[in-house]
Amino acid sequence: MAREQRICVTVNGKVYERTVPVRLSLADFLREHLHLTGTHLGCEHGVCGACTISLNGRSARSCLTLAVQADGANVITIEGLRADDGTRHPLQQIFLENFALQCGYCTPGMLITAIELLADNPNPTEREVREALSGNICRCSGYQAIIDAVLIAARQAGVAHANAQVR
């Protein structure tokens, strides 16, 4: 039957084999089937960025990806940012210390996008940070604390290393 398919996806380093409806989005697969609810749905048409995850090393909107398309793929979500011993990713720590989240709904997408930015461009200008994050909507913060957190992270040693681990 072409309406269900067995898929094998690596998520945050762990391999999962599941049978899924073909119309199920990757976002819903992560949230409903794997109970990784850290990835959020804000619009389901690719604009708000809250659902952004890392797919095979690059950021992607999980609301615009079918779960079946992730068969054989490597996915990282916000839950995968912790180190194996449970310590937060340095960017998460910096977000916390710099009040770079309020309601927290945009945060998963912001973190994934920021990590990709810093991996591609370890020393961005403020303008470059704003551009990179312009596809992630935040309604609470006015962005300033988030931008500052990313700039702080860029200056800190150890962040690049942690980013590389995530990829």
């Binding site: 409806p21 119309r23 949230r31 409903e32 109970h35 990784l36 609810t37 850290g38 990835t39 959020h40 749905l41 804000g42 619009c43 389901e44 048409h45 604009v47 708000c48 809250a50 979500t77 916000i78 839950e79 940012l81 912790r82 937060r88 998460q92 977000f95 916390l96 210390e97 009040f99 989240l101 309020q102 309601c103 927290g104 709904y105 945009c106 945060t107 998963p108 403020e126 940070v129 704003r130 551009e131 994050l133 312009s134 596809g135 992630n136 909507i137 935040c138 309604r139 609470c140 913060s141 006015g142 962005y143 300033q144 604390a145 988030i146 931008i147």
Partner: protein, 788 residues
């Protein structure tokens, strides 16, 4: 000899990192859609395709047969079994609007819920919705309030003559004389477009039958858990004590999640009927039509002034497009009455008159959204004050200085009967002007821009009444007087302090603030204080989070309860340490004599009090649970002055905010970083209002802005770095606190609107229709014909 552990670092005033944020940053938040219960069904709503129509028939036969569909509920089935929402009483009500949870014989806005489909999963529920056949008999739609109030307009509610949901006239002072004797009168019409809060997480609920000892448990993304409980019980005709409401992590609220909507009530009813948990998550497409809209005013404003630019009187004529129903809980009076009534802002205005109407139209109902009518009122007044300044050749700063209520005049009762006290309007303006380098900004503006852009500078001063107590209704005319928010402090057996209050946060860290306040009052370490805020089963009664009140109410009640609790602790401490109580204090969770010769850790004191109660006289061991209410009676005015600098591209009409300076008086700060986040967040929303956000309808009442590609909110590129400064003066409320959640959006809409108008006025242009889209800017410059 100093002992570091006795040194108290003040928590109030420190940017304490909130424990509340930890699960959120780690991806372990529990938002509404994260909740899964065994056997849970999912709900989708079939929504009206027409703005105004009779519902002739609904055929759900095919839908019911779809595998995975459990039930299709219609308004007819609910009719008589539950109470519809009748518009909340308001002294200025027009007629009564009755909103059935699912439309029965008529639909009154595109998106109104008609059927609820219950299925095993959401996708199947949506499949079923597509199989339902509805026969509509379309009626002419009302889409403009100025036409809707005409005698020949189609009637949306039989009981609302001229489609008035709200109507009020008000006058104070001799307005006619003021206008007669004025040296100058300026007059303008303004239009502020329709908006919505656009929370990143839309609404939702999970309703459960007997999920715990309560018959009905409802998890709901909402700001007012006890209010939801009250109305659920009332409308479902069940005892209030059978209902439990839990607010999970909430992704934005901004007032949109403070109204009462039919969908969650339908889910509650379904859960009781089906005896299974029922979940509904509002998707974004629904959210654009199902959750309250805001603003949408037509404002005709006049100022009468003397030759020195002193305002003698204002007069306004206001129409608000309040949508199809009077929103439940607040009434349709929110925008119309606040826009008109709060027009004077921070200015000394002795005489004012207004005529305001909330006219029903065939659009989504309008409800409260951050600052409600104040941004539109303030923007109109600020724009017209600038116009007045141009007429009298007075700089915008100068004319405002002449009109702001000075500290010396306070307490000052304004023409709208509000008393201003303990608020720094003039110092904020002075501070903003100084920090912005205002004179140099004007000089640069005068010299012109090398990049060909038109520079504009706008100033807005605002007043924001926060922390309203029982003397002031939450909105003019409403019969709702919030003011009974309890805080319970309880010292646990291990010496940990729990603060409980029904004041959920959507990011503003209310419980962190209250922990900070409690820490200072009691001398207990922050890490020894925890909190409960979101569950009617565990938090004491409270109205909830809205109207910039939690800093005042929550902190005030915390202080009152803390003082009582501290006394109880010291009495027992005196007994246990055998010293007079006057010699005792508490520092860093240790009860000790001032000379530090004797001490007992709080956890040891509590353990003894709980478990060795025999050793302590009964009369001094009444327990460690204290509940207090705080009613400040009057509100506490916050205020500010914002200066926005914009560059307008005369070719495309694009407006860029290139600099933004804000000087605020938000009273005594509890957590400065949290306050800063609130202020900047409000400014971002105000910039969105001024330049980007607009919900558009066509003449048939069809919404044209359906997705986030149409309704544009600011991204990180549209908000400049905000330069924030403070000129705080404590309020008269306990602790000296003020609310800060809403003021900044007022300043932002005003300052950016004025900046755009300033840029255009220097090139023979004008603008009074907002948001200032590129097209409106070019029309204002005369580059495009205005008759389009």
């Amino acid at each position: 000899m100093s002992d570091a552990r006795f040194v108290n670092l003040k928590a109030v005033g420190s940017s304490v990192i909130p424990d509340e944020a930890v699960p959120l940053v780690e991806g372990d938040g529990r938002f509404l859609n994260d909740i899964k219960l065994p056997g849970m069904y999912q709900v989708a709503f079939l929504r009206s395709q027409h703005a105004h129509a009779r519902l002739n028939s609904i055929d759900a036969g095919k839908a019911r047969q779809l595998p995975g569909v459990i039930k299709v509920l219609t308004g007819k089935e609910l009719f008589g079994k539950v109470d519809p929402f009748r518009s909340m009483p308001n002294r200025f009500s027009g007629g009564e609007s009755i909103q059935h949870w699912l439309a029965v014989d008529k639909v009154r806005f595109c998106g109104e819920a008609i059927c609820a489909v219950v299925a095993e999963d959401r996708a199947t529920a949506e499949d079923a919705c597509n199989l339902i056949e509805v026969e509509y008999d379309p009626l002419p739609a009302v889409t403009d309030p100025r036409l809707g109030e005409q005698d020949d307009a189609p009637l949306i509610h039989d009981a609302c003559k001229n489609n008035y949901l709200i109507k009020r006239e008000y006058q104070r002072g001799d307005v006619d004389a003021a206008f007669r004797n004025a040296h100058v009168v300026v007059k303008r019409k303004f239009r502020i477009g329709r908006k919505q809060a656009l929370c990143l997480e839309s609404r939702g609920c999970v309703a459960g039958y007997r999920e715990s000892t309560f018959t009905l448990t409802v998890w709901i993304s909402h700001q007012l858990p006890y209010v939801v409980r009250h109305y659920l019980a009332e409308h479902l005709r069940m005892p209030e004590t059978d209902v439990r409401v839990i607010v999970p992590h909430t992704g934005g609220g901004f007032g949109q999640k403070a109204s009462i909507y039919p969908e969650e009530f339908v889910c509650a009813w379904l859960a009781l009927q089906l005896r299974r948990p029922v979940k509904w998550v509002e998707d974004r497409l629904e959210n654009m039509v199902a959750s309250t809209h805001a603003r949408d005013q037509y404002i005709e404003l006049q100022i009468a002034a003397d030759k020195n630019g002193r305002i003698l009187a204002i007069s306004s004529d206001i129409w608000v497009d309040v949508g199809a129903y009077s929103i439940y809980l607040w009434s349709a009076g929110m925008e119309p009455l606040q826009t008109a009534g709060l027009m004077p802002g921070p200015y000394k205005i002795e005489a004012m008159r207004y005529r305001t109407r909330g006219v029903a139209t065939n659009k989504t109902p309008v409800g409260p959204y951050r600052a409600v009518g104040r941004p539109s009122a303030s923007a109109s007044l600020e724009l017209l004050i600038d116009e007045l300044g141009r007429r009298l050749n007075l700089d915008p700063v100068e004319i405002r200085q002449r009109n702001l209520i000075p500290l010396e005049a306070m307490p000052y009762r304004n023409a709208n009967n509000l008393v201003h006290d303990n608020v720094n309007y003039l110092p904020c303006l002075k501070l903003a002007v100084a920090k912005a380098g205002y004179e140099r900004l004007r000089k640069e503006q005068h010299e012109g821009s090398p990049n060909g852009k038109f520079r504009g500078i706008g100033i807005a001063c605002y007043a924001e009444l926060t922390g309203l107590g029982t003397s002031t209704a939450v909105g003019p005319g409403t019969l709702l007087q919030p003011g009974r928010d309890a805080v319970t402090l309880r010292l646990e057996t291990t010496g940990v302090l729990t603060i409980a209050a029904a004041l959920p946060s959507q990011g503003q860290r209310i419980m962190t603030a209250m922990r900070q306040v409690a820490s200072d009052e009691l001398g207990i370490r922050l890490e020894d204080i925890t909190s409960i805020s979101n569950d009617t089963a565990t938090a004491p009664y409270g109205f909830g989070t809205f109207a910039s009140r939690t800093a005042v109410f929550g902190s005030g009640a915390t202080i009152k309860a803390a003082r009582e609790l501290r006394q109880r602790i010291l009495v027992i401490g005196a007994f246990l340490l055998q010293v007079p109580i006057e010699e005792l204090t508490i520092t860093n969770s240790v009860v000790h004599t001032v000379d530090r010769s004797k001490s007992i850790a709080l956890k040891d004191l509590t353990e003894k009090s709980y478990f060795s109660a025999k050793s302590i006289p009964q009369e001094i061991n009444p327990g460690f649970e204290v509940t207090a209410f705080y009613d400040p009676k009057f509100g506490s005015f916050a205020g500010g002055a914002h200066i926005a600098v914009v560059d307008v591209d005369p070719k495309t009409g694009q407006v860029e905010v290139v600099r933004y300076v804000a000087a605020e008086d938000v009273g005594t700060l509890i957590n400065p970083a949290v306050v800063e986040g609130q202020i900047i967040g409000g400014i971002a929303q105000g910039i969105g209002e001024a330049l980007l956000e607009e919900l558009v309808y066509d003449d048939a009442g069809q919404p044209r802005t359906m997705t986030l590609a149409d309704y544009l909110v600011p991204s990180a590129l549209e908000i400049p770095r905000i330069e924030l400064h403070h000129a705080n003066v404590p309020s008269a409320a306990l602790g000296g606190f003020k609310g800060c959640g809403e003021g900044s959006i007022i300043g932002a809409l005003g300052s950016v609107a004025c900046a755009v108008a300033d840029a255009l006025s220097r090139h023979g242009g004008d603008i009074h229709d907002f948001p200032a889209t590129p097209e409106r800017v070019l029309k204002g410059l005369g580059v495009l014909a205005s008759t389009q």
